[in-house]
Assembly symmetry: C2
Homo-oligomer: 298 residues x 2
């Protein structure tokens, strides 16, 4: 039985097509896995690559992509609204099939070690792979961002888990995490008032007594795209998408803002959508394991 993981690798470049294509080509050429999706987001100036398959093949590819990112992305010149810490910004490892969370943590450690040693990049482990409570939360690692990291890394509690003790001058640092899931639900709202949008995002996120497990930021995308509340959910079984969506609608409405629509970024398990549909149809006893046809197809 093949141990299947999903790795979502995010890079701080979503506008330069050449660099995006360079990363994509590396991702396409690896062995033992599939590149199941890749997205460049010019508004965010970030790109994401979704790799699904055996861990060994994905490890080599991620290292190669990071090497490419270091030599092609200069963080001192990048601009974009999304908080970032490095050229190869955040890498999430998610168990999919025949693999435990613990085995994924070992994998993240192995990946961190290789990246730290061969690419000389400081690596922070987060999520289930975090070595202490503080680092479980990615937003605490990101705080201060690329610009603030040279100061932050000097603090004894922010020594990296792997790699050198100094920030790479143009590529910053990298975070590698193990998560149950990683669902990005971006919600477009009809306001141009970034302050109100930020207040909305602030009201819903966990650290401001909002929804447990929710990360949310308000991003002022280019004028055409408007303002977006970008949310991240790491455990949809505990925090379903409809809870997030309805809460955003509610908090926005209290500030006279309406939700225009949403975007589910990237790739999600079918179960995320089934859970949401059951809720809205009030189909309380729907049994996803037994009532979905595909579960019976060999």
């Amino acid at each position: 039985m093949t141990e299947t993981i999903q790795v979502i690798a995010n890079f701080s470049e979503g506008r330069n097509k050449e660099i995006y294509n360079g990363l994509k080509q590396i991702a396409q050429n690896g062995q033992g896995y599939k590149l199941i999706g890749s997205l460049a987001e010019p508004d965010y100036n970030r790109s994401g690559f979704y790799l699904l398959g055996e861990k060994s093949g994905i490890l080599d590819t991620v290292v190669e992509m990071l090497e490419y990112a270091i030599s092609h992305i200069d963080m001192t010149k990048q601009e974009g609204p999304h908080p970032w810490i490095g050229a190869g910004d955040v890498i999430a490892v998610i168990p999919v099939k025949n693999i435990t969370m613990e085995e994924c943590v070992e994998y993240a450690e192995q990946l961190g070690q290789v990246i730290g040693e061969t690419l000389k990049l400081p690596v922070y482990l987060y999520g289930e792979a975090a070595k202490n409570e503080e680092r479980k939360d990615l937003s605490k690692i990101i705080k201060g961002e690329f610009e603030g990291f040279p100061q932050k890394i000097k603090q004894p509690e922010w020594q990296p888990d792997y790699g050198p003790n100094t920030v790479h001058p143009t590529a910053g640092v990298t975070a590698i995490g193990v998560l149950r899931d990683l669902i990005s639900l971006n919600i477009n709202i009809n306001t141009t008032d970034i302050t109100a949008a930020k207040a909305t995002a602030s009201a819903i996120r966990e650290k401001n007594s909002g929804l447990k497990g929710l990360k949310a930021i308000a991003l002022d995308l280019d004028s055409k795209a408007g303002i977006q509340i970008s949310t991240t959910i790491e455990n949809y079984k505990e925090l379903p998408l409809h809870v997030v969506f309805e809460r955003v609608k509610e908090e926005a409405a209290s500030r006279d803002i309406e939700v225009i629509n949403s975007e589910i970024f990237g790739i999600v398990p079918a179960d995320v959508m089934i859970q949401t549909a059951s809720h809205y149809l009030q189909a309380d006893h729907f049994n996803s394991d037994k009532q979905i046809l595909e579960n019976y197809l060999i």
Copy 2:
């Protein structure tokens, strides 16, 4: 590549456990397919069996189940709110994988012929398998029900497609159809007024200028279970579940009736739920083919 079909076989018995178990055992013993679900509904006094796999194995099993039903279910003594025409009431054939609608129609014809000849049951083909426009619509075949069929079958336009020209005295007749899908969404409403419930069902169904492709009846289940609007959707891509659900809520509300919850009966393709979730999350651009993880798992 295995030609995979789904057959949903409904029998007019949902209260007698022995008969239900007898049918289930036959369904479990066949070759080349799986019994992926079976449900006895005492309120409806019906049961449904979901068979998924190769058509040849399923054909033999359906014939055997019908034979069992004929010898164990006496329609002259059955009671229940659901309109029915026979012991082996309605059989739906749905293409799943590597098989066309046309091939399913051929299969339904073959099944009808065997049932008609060997079991001496009148068989009506409906849905995509119907031989004329009138018979496409199952509700037109069912009209008059078991009690009225001895009269109905005498009319030249209601000669059966297969089998004898007289109703089986205790087992009635059987309908075999080919459908794109068969989704049963039952909606529980908080009323004891069956007249208002019937008006609600009537307002939403296609034949009363309601929703195209929708069948709906109001059923007064036993006192504990209350009243239910039972809907059937044969093409969810054209008539999504949320459209039906919201329309029922609306029509019920206009009669001061509230929807309590819903039940999705049986087994549905994941896509039904994904479509519903996308709608409610206003995730207009969600691409089910590309954004669902399971589509990439080998």
